[in-house]
């Protein structure tokens, strides 16, 4: 009766075991010899990643505990995304970790714990499971954000994150409780069945509460205000992981939830319009506010807010219940989320490098980087331009998918906003480029990249470029992931 195929949970179990195992190892070995933690983490993540790839292509879709927990390509796609993100964060933070005042050994396990939380979120088809996964991720992030325990800014960021995140969880939970009250269940399929097409003030209230909860995670305006502060205050690798992982996990959950509402509700029209307006505002405000920023992390925070707006467009594109259109929108989001990882990780890896070498992360610290560290400058340029959607970088294809999906639904105006805003975003991205290229950075040290950082940025750069020129493989993956969701 009960489907207890634990094999389907393999990646999650591996992650949990590895995380705890690494914690224990960190405790066991003497503080001076914790260098081994890094390769161990990298190989653990690589192994898991390899397995998830195998999982994606060769293991059939299945539901664990009869739909309490889903194992479909959609979830696995996101797992690949999270693991890639985690891996890149770990790789790029090798040197950075040594600047932490203490507990360097626990950093990697915590990253893995957060990854696990994200994976749970992507797989959960039960609202409570999703919530617990979300909290695992979030609570871990509280710790990670405050990891520089002697840094007032980091602590401030963490406490802000904690308060706001908890408040948003509270309202999310309130929404879940209302849904539960309506349907008697927390399981998505059953909720969908029970809700049917009837709607009442309660369903609307629940939807709004849930939207607020997810909107917080994906930093949708007006639920975004935490993001800039936390991004700026957190250690750069953590910011990176927040930007790519937390946001993608939020989207994974949002998509599942949104599909649920799509199937069960006739609330499409207004809900969509509201979301469209939100997406537009998010793109506009995110991009415009990024313009006057002087701190690169804060700028990237606003940029990532804007990116959420773009991705939300793809979600909205899932409007009329026909399979092909479904795929269009979801595929676009999936594709974009993945390339967003590479682009953002490239930018953050360079930012990590600069911050670690120069102690701060203002745009002026990047002056003359093209001379001082040419590779880093090139990768930074490529990454931010990919975020802006300039070909031949992957962001262009991603944006194309997103906007063509939404235009196919007849929402042309949002495409204008989106395209124009992404071109305006070039303005502030070019601010960084200008800093890096215009002068030769007299008086600043040469900071060539080495080792893991070099590998990270090269990898992100090449991936961004290759996926921009030949996006077919990733697009195919995104399609099969999207298809698995609506099957």
């Amino acid at each position: 009766m009960m489907n207890l195929n634990f094999a389907l949970l393999t990646p999650e179990i591996i992650m949990a075991v590895l995380s705890l195992g690494l914690l224990v190892i960190g405790l066991l070995i003497p503080p001076g010899e914790r260098k081994g933690m890094f390769p161990l983490t990298v190989f653990a993540l690589l192994g898991t990643l390899a397995y998830t790839f195998y999982d994606f292509f060769f293991i059939q879709r299945g539901a664990f505990l009869q739909g309490m927990y889903m194992h479909d390509q959609f979830a696995v796609y996101f797992k690949i995304l999270f693991l890639t993100g985690a891996l890149l964060v770990v790789l790029s933070s090798k040197d950075y970790v040594s600047t932490f005042p203490a507990h360097r050994g626990e950093f990697y396990p915590l990253i893995m714990a957060a990854t696990l939380g994200m994976m749970i979120m992507a797989g959960a088809s039960d609202l409570i499971t999703m919530y617990v996964g979300l909290e695992l991720m979030t609570i871990t992030f509280f710790v990670l954000v405050a990891y520089r325990t002697n840094d007032g800014k980091a602590s401030e960021a963490a406490i802000k994150y904690l308060v706001l995140s908890s408040a948003s969880s509270a309202i999310l939970l309130y929404g879940i409780s209302l849904i539960y009250g309506l349907t008697g269940s927390t399981q998505m399929f059953m909720i969908a069945q029970a809700l049917g097409t009837v709607q009442s003030p309660v369903t609307v209230l629940a939807v709004v509460f849930l939207l607020a909860g997810f909107g917080f995670k994906i930093s949708l305006i007006p639920f975004h205000l935490w993001a800039p502060d936390i991004y700026e205050g957190a250690p750069t690798p953590v910011t990176a992981f927040l930007a790519v992982g937390s946001k993608a996990a939020g989207f994974a959950a949002l998509i599942r939830f949104y599909l649920l509402m799509m199937y069960s509700q006739t609330f499409a029209q207004t809900g969509q319009t509201l979301l469209l307006i939100l997406a537009a505002i998010t793109m506009i405000v995110g991009n415009l506010t990024a313009i006057p920023q002087t701190n690169i992390k804060r700028m990237l925070a606003y940029s990532s807010i804007a990116q959420a707006g773009y991705m939300l467009i793809g979600v909205i594109a899932v409007s009329t219940p026909s399979v092909s259109n479904f795929i269009g929108g979801i595929k676009a989001v999936l594709f974009y989320a993945m390339i967003y990882v590479f682009a953002n990780m490239g930018a953050f890896a360079v930012a990590t490098h600069v911050e670690q070498a120069q102690g701060s992360c203002d745009i002026k610290d990047f002056a003359g980087l093209s001379k001082r560290s040419p590779l880093a400058a090139v990768v930074m340029t490529a990454s931010v331009l990919s975020l802006a959607g300039i070909p031949p970088l992957a962001g262009f294809v991603g944006k194309f998918y997103l906007f063509s999906a939404v235009m196919d639904q007849g929402y042309v105006w949002i495409a204008y906003v989106g395209f124009v805003m992404s071109m305006i975003s070039v303005y502030y991205y070019l601010g960084v480029v200008k800093a890096m290229f215009r002068t030769e950075g007299e008086g600043l040290p040469n900071i060539p990249v080495h080792g893991a950082t070099k590998f990270t940025i090269l990898f992100t750069f090449i991936t961004t470029l290759v996926l921009g020129i030949y996006p077919t493989p990733l697009a195919q993956m995104a399609i099969s992931a999207a298809t698995s969701l609506v099957k």
């Binding site: 300039i390 063509s404 070039v426 070019l430 290229f437 215009r438 697009a475």
Partner: protein, 511 residues
């Protein structure tokens, strides 16, 4: 159909050079320059070969290569040339090649410069040889950012700072392209719905897009968007203001490529995408384009008269000349489209030569202010000759290809819009005035002792003059070499048929 890889080779020649340069140490500037020159020369040689190997009697797209690329949305890696794109390809490589030589004396961050220049050349080239709309856009947008970087590093600050100029240029073109992207997506979706009815997958191929029928109101809107995008690119009034500032701020090679070929993407796009695919939209917008084109011609020419900086003069003059191209497109007939393509070619060569010469003048004298210069013909006769030929080509002197292009345009325009044609011709006067003033004030007049130390252009610096002047006169004296090709392009690309149907509606006899 079997794929021909010669275009791919042409496209990849500069890329290959780029990769080699990446691995050359920064200090080996000579080597870097030579590799860049070889790369661009290979592309030039291949395009010259294509120019002569193209079978004009058959026409249509030749040397095509179509490889499915992004399958889920139907993008093909489609390359091919016809009589419209081949001159543009040749032009690109001519200017690319000469741009390398015009930058021969660069000594600041040489490696970066040539890497960016080669990206730029590749991008522009790709735009012209793409037979797939997606690839077309991809290549077009590639070029924008390298230009920005080149402007802020190697540019010069005059009336406006180079940072401002570069940013203005970049953002302007990108905003324009944003609207084009919307249009492109709309077109693609419309086409794919039509194709889906026919049981075919979506496509971005120009040829297939052109064969479908679109709703007139759809065409009008989409053409309008393209007009904004491509119009900004071709510096159509009132979207031209990036152009003079941008050229003034940019380093020589960028000005050459930008004014020479990049701008032409606007005209090329309007023909290939606007008129060919959306003829009814074109017909709707034609009167408006014509009016704006006239404003372009006269307004920019007047402003050029008031300029004191050489690059601003040429910048405004190129705005003015692009008015001719727009006017030709607005006329929507075979002759005028022929003229438009030829004008783009002619102006490209001329503008490149002009900017190249100005670049040398600036490099040697460190000023571009017309008032500070004078009598340069004494010290630098070869440069003066090149400069003067550029000027003469600019004012459409017979013997240069520019004259024929202008004549063809006016001829075509006069068939449908005689008044506009007359106004366009009147523009020649003002062109003559500012060009001759510049020539007189810069080159002629008493010998100035402060320039006596200047060396005339020689060695590699002569390459741009020789190559571009040769092209100006060779095609100017034997226009059929160029025009037969363009004409075959106009007829065999389906443009002629489209124009005949659309043109019927606008032709109202003479006057």
């Amino acid at each position: 159909m079997s794929n021909s890889f010669i275009l791919l080779m042409t496209l990849l020649a500069p890329v290959l050079a780029l990769f080699i340069i990446v691995f050359i140490p920064r200090e080996e500037t000579k080597m870097i320059k030579i590799v860049a020159a070889i790369g661009t020369f290979a592309a030039l040689a291949l395009s010259v070969f294509l120019f002569f190997a193209y079978d004009k009697s058959v026409g249509g797209l030749q040397f095509t290569m179509t490889i499915p690329w992004i399958r889920d949305i139907g993008v093909n890696l489609g390359l091919g040339v016809d009589g419209i794109s081949l001159p543009m390809l040749l032009l690109t490589n001519l200017i690319g090649f000469t741009a390398v030589y015009s930058s021969w004396n660069i000594d600041k961050r040489v490696k970066d410069f040539f890497v960016l220049l080669l990206i730029l050349i590749t991008g522009v080239m790709g735009t012209f040889i793409a037979t797939d709309l997606f690839i077309f856009f991809l290549c077009y947008e590639i070029v924008v950012i390298p230009i920005y970087i080149m402007v802020i590093i190697w540019g010069s600050t005059k009336r406006v700072s180079k940072e401002y100029a570069g940013m203005k240029l970049t953002i302007y073109l990108l905003i324009g392209s944003a609207f084009m992207l919307v249009a492109m997506v709309a077109l693609y979706l419309n086409a794919s719905h039509q194709l889906a009815v026919l049981g075919q997958g979506p496509t971005f191929m120009f040829a297939e897009l052109a064969q479908l029928q679109y709703d007139p109101s759809f065409q009008i809107i989409v053409f309008g968007l393209f007009l904004f995008g491509f119009g900004s690119l071709i510096s159509m009034f009132p979207f031209h203001s990036w152009s003079p500032d941008g050229y003034a701020g940019a380093p020589t090679a960028v000005s050459m490529i930008h004014a020479g070929v990049l701008k032409k993407i606007g005209g090329y796009g309007l023909i290939r995408l606007g008129v060919l695919v959306l003829p009814l939209g074109g017909r709707f917008w034609a009167p408006i384009i014509a009016v704006l084109a006239i404003i372009n011609i006269l307004y920019a020419a007047f402003i050029a008269m008031a300029q004191k900086d050489l690059k601003y003069v040429v910048g405004y003059s190129s705005v003015s000349h692009m008015g001719n191209v727009l006017l030709a497109i607005a006329a929507l007939n075979i002759t005028s489209i022929n003229g438009a393509v030829a004008m783009m070619f002619a102006h490209g060569v001329m503008a490149a030569l002009f900017f190249s010469m100005i670049g040398f003048i600036y490099e040697k004298t460190h000023t571009r202010n017309i008032g500070d210069l004078g009598g340069l013909a004494h010290q630098m006769p070869r440069l003066a000759t090149g400069f003067m030929i550029a000027g003469m080509a600019g004012l459409g002197l017979p013997g240069t290809v520019n004259f024929i292009a202008e004549f063809t345009i006016f001829n075509g325009v006069a068939k449908v819009m005689p008044v506009q044609a007359i106004l366009g011709i009147v523009g020649i006067i003002f062109t003559a005035v500012y060009t001759l003033r510049v020539i007189a004030n810069v080159l002629f007049g008493p010998r100035r002792a402060e320039w006596d130390h200047l060396k005339d252009i020689r060695g590699p610096e002569l390459v741009p003059v020789v190559v571009l002047v040769f092209v100006i006169f060779a095609t100017g004296i034997f226009p059929n070499t160029l025009f037969h090709l363009i004409d075959s392009g106009v007829y065999t690309s389906g443009l002629a048929k489209v124009l005949e149907t659309v043109g019927q509606a606008t032709i109202g006899g003479l006057f």
